[in-house]
Symmetry: C2
Subunit: 369 residues, 2 copies
Amino acid sequence: MTFTGKQLTTQLDADGTLTLQLNDKTWDAPKGTQVLVKVEASPINPSDLGLLFASADTANAQYSPGKIVAQMPANATRAMKARHGMAMPAGNECAGTVVAAGDDPAAQALIGKRYACVPGSAYASYAYADANMGFAVDDSVSAEQAASSFVNPMTALGFTETMKLEGFTGIVHAAAASNLGQMLVKICLEDGIPLVNIVRSEDQVQLLKGLGATHVLDMTAPDFMPRLIDAIAETKAMIGFDPIGGGTLSGQILTAMEAAASRGAAFSRYGSSEAKKVYIYGALDIGPTILNRAFGLTWDLAGWLLTPFMAKAGMEVMGRMRARVMKDLTTTFASHYAKKGNLDDMLTKDAVSMYNARRTGEKYLVVPN
Amino acid sequence: MTFTGKQLTTQLDADGTLTLQLNDKTWDAPKGTQVLVKVEASPINPSDLGLLFASADTANAQYSPGKIVAQMPANATRAMKARHGMAMPAGNECAGTVVAAGDDPAAQALIGKRYACVPGSAYASYAYADANMGFAVDDSVSAEQAASSFVNPMTALGFTETMKLEGFTGIVHAAAASNLGQMLVKICLEDGIPLVNIVRSEDQVQLLKGLGATHVLDMTAPDFMPRLIDAIAETKAMIGFDPIGGGTLSGQILTAMEAAASRGAAFSRYGSSEAKKVYIYGALDIGPTILNRAFGLTWDLAGWLLTPFMAKAGMEVMGRMRARVMKDLTTTFASHYAKKGNLDDMLTKDAVSMYNARRTGEKYLVVPN
């Protein structure tokens, strides 16, 4: 038995031409622990945008039905040499119905079920997934509710696990009004973890306060820095997570941590000896990171990525995280979408200019079938 | 019995006035494990300059015999609030003769000996030191030879120990023609550790090649980046140490590590998963650190400082490091000075404009007596 439909691919050529297009595709019967999922809902996360478009000029691209041709800047083209000429599928996660399964009993048991999974090729009519890497949801859970079961929930839980693994006791989170940020607010409330939320507007302050957040700071306010220092001094939040990356914010968080750690302490020319760390886990701003280094010599700035974190955390932690997501999928881990569309819709100029702007709260959900 | 002489202090007031001056001082008899050292030679290291002058405007300061009054920028004045109004002694390390000792047998045993130590107040006629924190040198070793027995040697050895502790197998070192850098070249040769040296001129390339260094790259050369990538690919040097701090170099090292790690690997939108780390251990450039983040999401940039490193490394590693410095003080760990002067000399405009420029190879040695 085979299945036919369409699959989106993104291809970057050596001359900088980026082509996204829908291709007809036939899926053969899955094997072993593989299942074939009829994709019902798949979010476009920032991590997907990096593969789909990277820094290509989507404003001046050519849009035709089922196809986009855009130009990538020369330095980005060079940096992604390893993908030149390859038509790559995309779409990290989705929910859908299992329409076929390999011989393995774990796979067979999923036939007919709605399955939340991480195929990496979810922008398609069908996608292969592994029977051991996702989870079936109750019939009462919609595909839309199950679509974002991995990237954001596991990342938000990964932050609290990272905090514990590294001996910290409170978290600073930037761009905190995002879907992920809202999950983190709820997780930290449930677990009693002090959380300092940094957002970009008074509306976002009200949004997170409405969820029960205690510390929510508008980074556009004139008293942002003194308030950040106060909040960190009060919460002892000495680990931060920043998805913006570009600009000065990561450095400002370290500066505020240093100021909070130095309060009342004797002068040291090298700064406070208290550990302070900020992880950059995204690139909402692809510009350079600028550090004024007004934070002594005891500091750490690093990249954070879900996959290596999970490898480091190990199976037991992973299993605990996944069980919690399954249990609270429609509450703590609920996601919201500003717009939905099928595979053709997602390739229109209107859709791309909306979701590729990566604005907080403006997430796109792809519903292929 | 008391001893009289002069001591240099540096004081920053709340209005930004920075005053360095020589004060008459009387030293009482030392107690317990304390010894009193008649200071013979003390280097001015970059780490001393941070306390002495920080970012004060020494070009437009008022110089009078035994006194300098300079203005500190407002932001730096605010950042150093904890030292306002305090007349702080300075001078991390020195060598001198023990002229008095506390009751403790370890202290008594040092009387009359030449002692290499870390008093933190060495820019003075005399300084108290702890009998357990330094080491006596042979009569054949001069004070000048023993003056820099701690900061640079322990830092250079600390880099190789950090490399081992964190599971790396090769080092990239920036500003590598410094006294410290020359020590690191010799240590790495002795220990068979691959080392990539980054310097700023062809003269410095020749200097380090003369010491036997294999990889020495001039960062001002047009082909610096491709050569850095090649050298890192060859040596697998995935940990770097950068005393410059400001500008783009730390980010360039991470970029070169990423390019070397990705060679021949399949494309990953998140970059290579190989650990890559750069430590900033100084501020030769006090401008902002600028990271273009062209190095995926598996990277780490952190501050490195000797004292917390030693606390983390533990007594056994520390003891091993110190024994090695004692043994090879006049060979591997030899330092060179461009100029010498007494306490009055070091406060002249000529001297300050020389040593506060922090140019590679232009180190000043203070000889108070």
